[in-house]
């Protein structure tokens, strides 16, 4: 699709600026979806559950970040060094709170059902998703709420070949890269990361090797929630509006991203997130934003139909 539009642009006005800007916006948005998708893919990789409430955890993360701006007194007049400190603190608050929320959902809703048929925890996940959506409605009401544009999201930072890089783009990409790298390192190197990989491969064997499987699963949900909370903050700063329904759509988009990248595969989830972000932007810009959900969902069905194992192949026990 991007290639087709690039050729179309070239023939129309001989420049790639428009498609370039589409892709740039897509990558900035996609970075947020990538962070959410990591939570899906990790959880699915380890307990084979679509954590349907994950999108809502992301939404609550945004709301907490918004509230934290108020607690910390961050507004448009805050000096830049203080602002950076404040945002770092907000990141910490929303990430930890979202992580704790996700961990709690696992403990209450999924752990008692670990031996039940697979559909049972999926149904409680849907239930939690609705409960959290209504928490959002009670918290900030049923319509969009605007967030103070602390970073000047649309302000131009610099320009490369006609493509405008804004503060929002820089924030989104520069926060996502260290988070993803840190997570990959953690999974590859840390003891807990090793335990996670072992549990994902074979929970029974992992238990026999002395791994505390319950603790490992809790940690997975916690880390997934942390990523969603970070994504929530970036979303609030980047979009400058938040509302209770953002989690539902984000959840489906991120899940599509996770499936596309091969569920259980961290790098795949990131790639999937970026691709979906680009598809969305192109559809918003060329077809009309009201049709974007249809395009994304049709793409979801297509991915499931053609490549349910994902573009990069899955790394769950089912593939091995």
């Amino acid at each position: 699709m991007p290639v087709a539009f690039a050729i179309h642009d070239l023939s129309a006005d001989g420049s790639l600026v428009r498609i370039g800007n589409n892709l740039k916006d897509g990558i900035s948005n996609g970075a947020i979806w990538a962070l959410v998708a990591l939570g899906y893919t990790m959880v699915y990789g380890i307990v084979e559950l679509i954590n349907f409430a994950h999108g809502e955890v992301f939404m609550i993360g945004s709301f907490i970040a918004f509230a934290a701006f108020g607690w910390l007194g961050l507004d448009l007049t805050t000096a830049i060094p203080l602002l950076i400190l404040g945002l770092a603190l907000t990141l910490l608050i929303s990430a930890i709170a979202s992580g704790a929320l996700n961990g709690m959902i696992e403990k209450v809703g999924y752990r008692p059902l670990r031996d039940a048929p697979k559909l049972a925890p999926l149904i409680t996940a849907v239930g939690f998703s609705f409960i959290l959506q209504n928490v959002g409605v009670l918290w900030l009401g049923g319509s969009q709420v605007s967030v103070p544009d602390l970073i000047g999201s649309q302000n131009l930072l610099f320009e490369v070949g006609g493509i405008d890089i804004t503060n929002g783009d820089a924030l989104s990409i520069l926060t996502t890269i260290p988070l993803v790298l840190g997570l990959t390192l953690f999974i590859d190197r840390a003891r807990m990361g090793k335990a996670m990989r072992a549990t994902a491969q074979d929970p029974d064997a992992a238990r026999l090797m002395g791994i505390d499987v319950d603790k490992t699963i809790s940690a997975t949900f916690l880390i997934g929630g942390v990523m969603a909370g970070a994504a929530g903050l970036i979303y609030a700063l980047y979009q400058t509006t938040i509302w209770f329904h953002q989690g539902f759509e984000a959840g489906l988009i991120a899940f599509t991203a996770a499936v596309m990248g091969g569920i259980g595969n961290l790098r795949g989830a990131v790639v999937g997130g970026l691709i979906i972000g680009c598809i969305q932007q192109i559809s918003d810009n060329r077809i009309g934003p009201e049709w974007t959900p249809v395009i994304v969902f049709a793409f979801l069905v297509l991915v499931m139909l053609v490549r349910p194992r994902g573009l990069l192949g899955e790394e769950t026990r089912q593939a091995g």
Binding site: E48, L49, I50, V108, G109, P112, L113, D115, A116, P117, K118, L119, A120, P121, L122, I123, T124, V126, G127, F128, S129, F130, I131, Q133, N134, V135, V137, L138, G142, F248, L252, F255, V259, E290, W291, P293, V294, F297, A298, L300, V301, M304, L305, P308, R317, Q318, A319
Partner: protein, 406 residues
Amino acid sequence: MSSVLERARRIDQRFLVAAAILFAVLLPFFFDSGSPFMDDAVLALAYVVMALGLNVIVGFAGLLDLGYVAFFAIGAFTMGWLGSTFYSESNGGDGIHILVTGAASNLPGIHINFLLVLVAAVVFTTIAGVIIGLPTLRLRGDYIAIVTLAFGEIIGQVAANGDQIKIGPIWDATLGKLPLIPDLGSSATLTRGKLGISPVDKIDLPFMDPFTSLNSRPWYFVALGLVLLVLFVNVRLRDSRLGRAWLALREDEVAAISMGIPTVKTKLMAYGTGAALGGMSGAFLGSFLNTVNASQFEFLFSIFILAMVILGGLGSVWGVVIGAILLSYVNSWLIPDVLNGLPGQLGLDFDLTQVSFAIFGFILVIVMILRPEGLIPERSRKQEMHGIGAGDTAGAGTDVELGEAG
């Protein structure tokens, strides 16, 4: 000894069913025909039909469908297309009238008798059910949930933006030239977008006066008729060869396949049947609610119906009926009329209607954790949910995957 008990139980059950039907038939005569209670009762019966339809897909065949709203939408749109002034330019502005009496027979647009619309809705939704079912055939359980959800959302979004889709010119160019098929006019669109198609023709049955919105008694009896029909279909299917095939697939797909059960056909039959029942109810609701509106077709609705099936007991026909009636009254009476002020009385600053879907979410969570087999469980499901053989079921999914990979 056990056979005597079994026979006693069966007689007992028959008596209960007969008593319940008698109660349902006599109920409207104790209430004023225009009372809100009767309106809620009509809605409840329509939801029973929906829930029994979803029960075929989720309860009998074990395919978690999170996009059931799609069939409501298609059924309701069938009613909207074939029974309103929406296509007012059709047939050169004269309209099309088939077996309709009363006011509708003089209006422009397409007006077709409700019974024929019902048949059309069943045909359309069955086709839609099979189309939605096809891509899910190769997928495992939880992926099916997501694909059906995506289809439900696509249909909802198309309904909301369908005023941009002009079908008139294409229709007239391709189908309009055939005999018997009228033109729709060049400005005909697929839906009326967010405005919705309204008013919709009232049900018009032979030997009866056309229905009105003031008197809900005839609506009640039509809905009850649909419920009885669908109950009959549900019970007969459950005890049929097909019903046992669904059960076998639900419990252990590998074993079912090795016993010679045709998976594709069996699963598609489940989707088609469930969809058809949802479409019937959708067409009825389109006429009863007097509008076919994109805001009706949201994901929330799918979960609302799913909560009825889960609360009553997956696969349990009578449980689902009870679950649907309970939740329908919770939604249309208990929350808005009785308990709405409760948070206010407790000093909280919101109405209960604002959180009605959290209540349904809460029901899903609580039922799954405390009583996963539902209020009136199906017998085999009860055993499964309480751990007997649960491990086997979980293992089966993995085996299927390995089998397909190899």
